[in-house]
Amino acid sequence: MRWVRPLTARLDETEEALGAKAHGLVALHRLGLPVPPGFVVTTDACRAFLDGGRLPDGLREELAAAMGGLEAATGRRFGGARTPLAVSVRSGARVSMPGMMSTVLNLGLTAEATAGLAAETGDARFAVDSRLRFLSTLAAALSGTGAADASTGPGTAAGRGADDEEARLAGAIAEFERAAGRRGGRAVPDDAAGQLELAVEAVFSSWDTPRARAYREIHGIGHDLGTAVVVQAMVFGNRDDRSGTGVAFSRDPNTGEDTPFGDVLFGCQGEDVVSGRTPVLPLRELGSREAVVWGALVDALDRVEGHYRDACYVEFTFQAGELWLLQARPGRFVGAAAVRVAVDLADEHVITREEALLRVSPRQLRHARTPRIADPARADVLARGTGACPGVAVGRIATTTEAAVRMAADGPVVLARPETSPDDMRGLAAAAGIVTARGGAASHAAVVARSMGKPAVVGVTGLVVDSAGASISVGGRTIGEGAFVTVDGTGGQVALGSPPVVTDGSDAHPRRLLAWADDVSGDRSDRDEVQRLGAAHAVLRRERPD
């Protein structure tokens, strides 16, 4: 086939052709790990689409043939009225970038197939919920907004069964069908093959949105790279209470400590974790509720880490107690965590000391000195979000701009808001640190926090700021205005009280790494850390130019 490749252990093509996501999935196949069957549409097809303004000749036929392969592998029928096959459609460029469409879930759930899924599972609500997610993710993809907004959708598999709930879902489905049709400029076809072609076109088109173009120009990424499209049989994290989805690092990305770290959501599908709409649970909850899944995940993290010879990141879903991996890549730790992982991997003889030295750039070492909460695992972490401006701020919680200004006269204040607007500028100016419930690293609050150099955590899922009651609640706890909290704008944690803060200059791991650096350079004179590491790099690069 010219444009499409089945995802198997034998697939041997470059990351340029397959994109990072498919490349990672091939690695998982080679490790013998459970990956839902699927195929990838190459970046070549994307370039041909962008040149010609339409799907290239032959792609439709290849998609149909590849779907036939998936049907054979799963024993299900794409768009079928009985045992229907649903797929996920995800973009996968060599580099990921904001503004690009990410994922359409449950594609193939036509009205007829949804009825078939309901009959097969005996769970109409699950089937309708899945169709709603399909339409909401497709609507988002067609509108080019990147992220789905299924806020009218149900949160979890719990509490199913109410008739009015099903009526509400039916209404939401009609609404999303209209929205998807409106945004796409044409009706959503109710045949599975047509839906697949539409989704592939949406992924290809999203490569060329102004946001994506702007990102590439700023970061020096070629416009001609294109994105691949990964199509895989769905695994349903929303199937039942023994299903769910999550993300996991093999080590703690905040500290580098050798313990699995991540988030899990029961009864949910992948977009719920990434979108931050639903409060997530710490990964260890998986161990207590689904021991078999946990065991398989820990084993997988171990193998993936061995493959990359580095800390790693995976996305996973489990359906009815069975684990599936959906994505894998190196962990890309920064700062102190990067230093610790490099040193630990050398101690574990996974990499040499020389490799450990080369993995830590002088900038990483400098970054490791940004103040952090010393040990988030032992601090009383109230909430987590996206670190938007590095540094640590300790202060009393204020829930309004007025309170922040008033309280700032008596000492440092942390302003907590649902999101910020120009109305909050006084409060932002008065505060030492900032916490918001909504928005990402490029939200109004994040931009302003950085312009003022104030540690900030944004996008804290589940945070409710009750200005009238002068309190915040998150994770089942309610904290009154005036309570002391600590904001770590690097790790994205908000902790109660004032846990110990470190700058890591004297920590054991950087010390050991720098001792190795001196061994390599042979220079033990009194210099700053960046010079010591730089001297070692110079020697190593001379010895092993690459």
């Binding site: 702007a214 120009e217 890309r332 607007s421 006084r426």
Partner: protein, 208 residues
């Protein structure tokens, strides 16, 4: 609100609405935002304060701001203005266009402030003029599209014309080397943009 029926210069609504969209501000900022001179702004602020619509807070983070009554009066008056001009469909459509541009603007501000180097997101120290020029070029590209949205708005409601002037002014100054006009100062592109966002929400009566 009987006060709003009293004879006025016509400059009171721009002053009131500037505080609604920009939050607490001093006289100079309100003057810069409205294009009025400072004496006229101060005179309007005092009249509005007498009517109980604005108040002045002392202290390091003080300034002029709306009272609850001022917020209500502003909402009523911008709604009346919108509907009497028959501008609601145009403003609603422009708001839709704005929402397409908004994430791109915020991305650009983030790229202006942070760079990813060796996989580490670090503060942009503005020591790399080529990088800054790339980001500012993208700002200029975005601005062209924002201009079109502002032009639609200004054609429907002339007061939106101020955003064209202010955004263009911020971009010119940033490109002229005054880097704080991108995302730092109270007259920066980002600040004016956020006020435009707030204005669209306030004008259309959309809650945050």
């Amino acid at each position: 609100m009987t006060q709003s029926d009293a004879p006025r210069s016509g400059d009171d609504l721009p002053v009131l609405h500037t505080l609604r969209c920009g939050g607490y501000a001093g006289v100079a900022r309100v003057a810069a935002a409205t294009g009025l001179d400072e004496a006229a702004v101060e005179s309007e602020l005092i009249d509005l304060a007498v009517d109980g619509l604005v108040t002045r807070l002392a202290g390091p983070f003080g300034g002029w701001g709306l009272t609850d009554a001022g917020r209500a009066a502003d909402a009523e008056r911008v709604t009346r203005e919108l509907d009497s001009a028959g501008a609601r469909p145009v403003v609603a459509a422009a708001y839709g266009d704005f929402l397409v541009l908004n994430p791109e603007l915020l991305d650009l501000c983030a790229a202006w402030q942070l760079r990813s180097l060796d996989g580490v997101a670090v503060a942009n120290d503005h020591g790399d003029p080529a990088y800054d020029a790339r980001v500012l070029d993208r700002f200029a590209g975005l601005h062209e599209r924002a201009e079109a949205v502002c032009a639609d708005l200004a054609a429907a409601l002339p007061r939106f014309g101020r955003y064209r002037v202010r955004l263009a002014g911020a971009l010119d100054r940033a490109r002229g080397g005054e880097l704080e006009y991108v995302a730092d100062s109270t007259a920066s592109y980002h600040t004016v943009w956020a006020e435009l966002h707030e204005d669209l929400l306030a004008t259309l009566g959309i809650p945050r």
